[in-house]
């Protein structure tokens, strides 16, 4: 008997107390918890919570200017801009070397790139979380991982209240990365240090959804 069958047989024997007629019933799980802990103004809540995690958050109606200002604060060697990043959000002049992931950049090139500019799939207000799903303007997962600086642009209409709504909107078949602030560790005497292996600096620009320049994101 192979191990697969052996384990399944052991499970069957171990569950002798479970009536054979009993079926798993997701409907019987008591789900009396809230669907959302967010209030009405999810944009303000997201901005506050993301800043709590030491991300630098800017709210703007004019994305190109805010992006240019954020980039100007950081002395970057270069900036990776994935395919599909909305042209109307890009500053006319980046003022630094722009890299495209086409053909795919090597890990060494990404490591030396300096920074990356991406969109996101959605953002979660209560937890201050960005979710990337490798859609247009985000690129593959390594792009937002190896460069030491990540600037993520979020349309205000992409911000959901809480985790349950976010999971309902996401496609599980896509590779998903939930990002809450820059990478961090508390492994040494439980003292929190921001910046270990992932980008050590995370900037977030929230673009007001009334702005005609938004839309067209993943």
């Amino acid at each position: 008997m192979n191990s697969r069958n052996a384990i399944l047989a052991r499970i069957g024997a171990a569950l002798a107390d479970v009536p054979r007629t009993e079926r798993y019933d997701a409907g019987a799980i008591p789900r009396d918890y809230r669907d959302s802990h967010a209030g009405v103004d999810v944009t303000a809540l997201f901005a506050e919570r993301a800043a709590d995690y030491r991300a630098t958050v800017t709210r703007t109606a004019h994305a190109p200017a805010a992006i240019a200002a954020a980039l100007a604060r950081r002395a970057l060697a270069g900036l990776v801009v994935p395919d599909g990043f909305p042209a109307e959000w890009l500053p006319a002049e980046l003022g630094l070397r722009r890299l495209a992931d086409r053909p795919p950049l090597s890990v060494r090139e990404l490591d030396a790139a300096g920074g990356v500019l991406t969109t996101c799939a959605l953002a979660i207000a209560v937890t201050g979380t960005l979710v990337l799903d490798a859609g247009p303007g985000q690129g593959r997962r390594a792009l937002s991982l190896l460069p030491d600086y990540h600037l993520c642009v979020v349309g205000a209409d992409q911000i959901v209240g809480d985790v349950p709504e976010a999971l309902r909107r996401l496609a599980p078949r896509r590779p998903l990365t939930f990002i809450s602030g820059p990478s961090a560790t508390s492994d040494i005497e439980l003292e929190r240090v921001e910046g270990v292996h992932g980008p050590r600096t995370l900037d977030i620009v929230i673009v007001d959804s009334n702005n005609p320049g938004t839309g067209g994101t993943a």
Binding site: I7, I11, Y24, Y33, A134, R141, A142, L176, S186, H197
Partner: protein
């Protein structure tokens, strides 16, 4: 294939019993100070984060219900998971015990032709002793979580589920990095200080070259979703993302109890886990993947489903709930015993209250008979547990098992003799009165300031670790007789 001995991996070889190990640990005042500070800090953070949600109890109830219902139909969900992962292009392997899991992973690594792997912190691979097994096959496994790196470089053992190097101070860590990093790769900078920021920076540089050249990664899994085949890893540092994204081959080892029925179930656990574990609204990074993705991340994905004593745990209708554990470590941080002894005393990668119930069940009670007694039964762990595992209930249940396994020997244990003597003394009022009188006289001879510090003969083993209050000069029954007579 039943009755496989899993003890050699779940319980560290040569570990003393808990009371022996604990005696040494509590004498280490620096360790106790480190632990008191660390667990105190994390307790405060957890309480604040759990308190922020006014439906925390409802979330716990849902989490417990999902876990318990899933375990009752574990075979169904595992088959569904296998089907979904396979449909997504992954390969599923089944490992009955640690040896088989180690063999599967070793062969998968060998098939790639590589001689090194990078690892994401994983309890399952700690439990099976994977690094040692890989080393025997000439494969180097590099731990990439900062605390696991400290443990690995220090030739040490983990002492906490979330913060495995919680027993190390910053000065010790600096010394370990300074002395050992060069042997493993990029040396620590000469001017390395003991500031956590500097130490983290040294780890970043040391591991960077390993991430960039890694072809094979090994991870654990926090959750695996049966209906979609999605696997999730939660982490903070980004080492997980590096391992899950950059290599060509990804091998994930997960205990069979980690399966969740549906993707939507994650909404409960992604709220419970970070708040219970690190005391954050959300951990910095959570990665989810469903099979390999073209042009993004590993081309080959293998999922190893590990039994290693879990089906034996499942069989016990009281102990079964232990398998609901999501490895948050909240129970460690609130435990008065853990706070004083630290993790090493538990002799297993699973320390603290959850270890005291999980280790004896995975390894067999005969391999860890002292662990169910490593508790005051205060119940703080049950209150803190995000999936409501009634750890005190399981502890008491396992204590009975531990006593039962000692029964039937030719020489009765002192405990059994004491219980027999108690049964005799309590069988008639006259015998009880006689025993109380004897106790009172004996107590008067032995007590100092109302406390018996050392009992005679075989009773010394009891008094060695406890102060016993001296019996009162007058028993309740004597007082009753005397005062009632006076009142009549």
């Amino acid at each position: 294939m039943s009755g496989v001995d899993t003890s050699s991996s779940v319980v560290w070889l040569g570990s003393p019993s808990f009371p022996e190990a604990a005696r040494e640990a509590v004498a280490d005042t620096r360790l106790r100070a480190n632990l008191r500070k660390a667990t105190g800090t994390i307790r405060t953070k957890r309480l604040a984060m759990a308190g922020e949600l006014d439906d925390w109890e409802e979330l716990r109830t849902a989490g417990a219900a999902i876990k318990r219902a899933t375990l009752r139909h574990l075979d169904h969900h595992l088959l569904k998971l296998e089907q979904s992962v396979t449909a997504a292009g992954g390969t599923v392997h089944w490992a009955a015990d640690a040896a088989e899991a180690n063999r599967i992973v070793t062969e998968l690594v060998q098939a790639t032709g590589e001689a090194e792997v990078v690892k994401v912190k994983s309890m399952a691979t700690q439990e099976i002793g994977l690094n040692e097994a890989l080393a025997q096959a000439g494969i180097m496994a590099y731990e990439t979580d900062l605390a696991e790196l400290i443990v690995q470089l220090g030739d040490d053992r983990p002492s906490h589920i979330l913060v495995p190097a919680i027993h190390r101070s910053r000065a010790e860590i600096r010394q370990i990095f300074h002395d050992r990093m060069a042997e493993w790769g990029r040396p620590a900078p000469e001017e390395l200080t003991d500031e956590p920021r500097d130490l983290a920076e040294a780890a970043r540089r040391h591991l960077r070259e390993k991430f960039l050249r890694a072809k094979v990664a090994v991870s654990g899994a926090n959750f695996a979703v049966a209906d979609t085949g999605t696997v999730a890893v939660v982490e903070s540092e980004g080492n997980g993302r590096m391992c899950l994204t950059l290599p060509e081959t990804l091998i994930t080892v997960m205990g069979i109890e980690k399966v969740l029925p549906s993707f939507a179930d994650l909404e409960v656990f992604l709220q419970l886990l970070p708040r219970s574990s690190t005391g954050e609204r959300m951990n910095p990074y959570t990665s989810m993947w469903t099979g390999p993705v073209d042009g993004d991340g590993p081309r080959d994905f293998h999922l190893v489903l590990l039994d290693n004593g879990r089906t034996a745990t499942l069989r016990d209708t009281v102990g079964r709930q232990t398998l609901g554990c999501i490895r948050c470590s909240a129970c460690l941080n609130v435990c008065p015993v853990y706070e004083r002894t630290g993790g090493h005393a538990y002799g297993s990668p699973y320390p603290g209250p959850i270890g005291a119930v999980l280790t004896p069940q995975l390894a067999g009670i005969e391999h860890a008979p002292s662990l169910p007694f490593a508790s005051t039964l205060c119940g703080a762990c049950y209150d803190a547990c995000p999936v409501k595992i009634d750890i005190p209930e399981v502890l008491v249940h396992l204590r009975a098992q531990a006593v039962d396994t000692k029964r039937g020997g030719l020489v009765p244990t002192p405990e059994a003799l004491a219980m027999k003597a108690a049964a005799v003394a309590l069988s008639t009022p006259r015998r009880l009165a006689w025993a109380q009188r004897a106790g009172e006289l004996g107590g008067r001879l032995l007590a100092r300031r109302g406390v018996l510090r050392r009992l005679p003969g075989p009773l010394r083993r009891w008094s060695d670790t406890r102060d016993t209050p001296a019996p009162p000069r007058e028993t309740f029954r004597a007082w009753w007789r005397r005062t009632r007579r006076e009142n009549e």
